[in-house]
Amino acid sequence: MSMLTTRPWLRWAAPASVLVAVLAAGSATRLLAAEPGLPERSASDLLVKLQTAEVSSFSGTVVEKADLGLPSLPLNTRRGSSDLASLADGTHTLRLWYDGPERLRMALMGTLGESDVIRNGRDLWTWHSEENTATHTRLPASTDRAEKPPVHPSGLPSNPQEAADRVLDALDPSTKVTTDGTARVAGRAAYELVFTPRDSQSLVRQVRIALDGEKFVPLRVQVHADGEQAPALEVGFTQVSFTKPDASQFEFQPPPGAKVTEEQPGRSWGRDHKGRDHKGRDHEGNARGGHEGKGKGDHGDEAKGGREGRRGAAGRARPVVIGDGWTSVLVARAPSPEDVAARPGAGDEHRGWGRDGDRADGQRTGDQLAGVLGALPKVSGDWGSGRLLKTKLFSVLLVEDGRMLVGAVSPERLYEVAAAPKAQLND
């Protein structure tokens, strides 16, 4: 103490050391995270493990970070909201509970709100706390059977090693698959599989998938854009547990006072739902099936109108894909803002699911879309002129003649494609 009395400035070491201790603790956890100590495995070995991974149930917290470098657009203002449409930008936290494909729950947590998708057997609920609305869909029994992942249709490789080799072979012309040591994700040791496009024109530099060192399920996916250190897109667990979640997690009763909408199966949830949960691909396929098979007949009028409108816009010319692999470009007819505005139920599309869109919503969305388009920079060349949306991972070119070009490539490549005769959509 006497030293502190004679040299009072020494006391400032206290706050400084608190700061240093905090920083040290922070970097120590990062250093520890780099040393999970797993035995080495080859890329094909990991692909085998990935394919044979059997996880019947899990629960955890997922953080999704998107830094696509989107231009700041009028639509882009719903930060911290629990709206699913806001996932395209910023950081979001989700909680997942999974107990087989029949019972799952996903909760997107906003600052003071929450959006949930709950599936319990044939009941599919969505819940939106900020709007106090819920939708209920009674899934047809037949989809339950189709729910089983199409694992081994005839002609597929008989053992996982062969499958992995085939996957590698198929990927090889366009993609280099390597491993990159180990990582620590959600406190668990994990292997990293790295997919690097061979085509240097791709905006995607690499895709990294972290596989759990014990269960071999993906714990984190990172998409790195060309020339960027931090991932442009990252979805990963921050906490995960492979124990069976409590059954009550999958029970949902809309609270009194909430507005509940009954929906016909196969309407729109599949689109929003796809890829969001762990087994996303199963549902995606399933929901698409629903669209195709059931979509036509038994909709409510609103939904039907919306669907017809979309068909009309898309039906003028079939979209074409030009190029292959990572640098393929999709060319399609873009719906004009007027189309969107005139389309009932357009509100659904842009602001999460499961609300009935009304005319005003559609109008608002149309106006917003027009505003967004107006804010995009104008570009022109020998291919014509239009507007360009450029992000770190993909580019979108809206040509004035109504074509839309999308691809994970630079704008220059889009201009090149736009001039190509195949991309004129003149049929």
């Binding site: 009072p8 006391r11 600052t111 819940w127 706390s129 921050t238 609270p255």
Partner: protein, 290 residues
Amino acid sequence: MSAADATAGVVTGAASAPWRRLSTRFLRSELGLVFGRRRNQVALAILAAVPVIIAVAVWWSAPPSGRGPNLIGAVSGNGVYVALAALGAELGLFLPLAVAAVASDAIAGEANQGTLRYLLTVPVGRARLLAVKYAGVLAYALAATLLVAAVGVAVGVAFFGGGEMILLSGSQIGFLPALGRVALICGYITACLAAVGALGLFVSTLTEQPVGAAIAVVVFTISNQILGTIPQLEPIHPYLMTHWWYGFGDLLRAPIATSSVGPGLLSAGIYTAVFLAAAWARLGSRDITS
């Protein structure tokens, strides 16, 4: 605490008191000082008025269409939400302001009145003086939060009834568990305000102007909130003092989430530790002239 006690507290706390180790007398006198001040009482009254205003406003207006702001929209469904709506509304400015005023007063107020050097003649170390002052600030922050919540629950139940409370996840819990959730939220908010109090105490040791110190703290808090709304600054957002404050929504889910509350408590703890250590360094090394 009665007025007589409070007066006695002022006298003993500010001027003289023979000191015994680990006596609670110093702390009690400090609490008397904090809660006995008319301005602090008025501040508590204003804080307590907000839930009443919210309840009356919601009760008066037409039943909400279900599209209102989250918390206020839920008020008419359950009275407990009045407390949460009030806490949410006051967390932006009123609560930090009240805590900043008390914390800034702690050292700078004494210095301004010329009582600090008398206080230091009390045979007690400056560290303990600081600890007692900070305990007073914490007690005030907790009391303010609990008061808002208690008035909110009372008024809310009177206007809208109690019963089942709807959580953000859509499930419902009974009235007593709902009160438990409110108590947890009060604890979390107090922890957040503790960081404001520590900052206030530190600034208070830098100056002899309590008003200046309070303004500095509020400016810091508000500028944190402003920085938090600028999307381009997203990388630094998690390090802002105010970033996690509204994370108390985590405590309204089923089951309770920790993805915001956990980092929020950590952040508040770090801010508190740094500023308290800085306050200790500053007060200990400073020449007290007034």
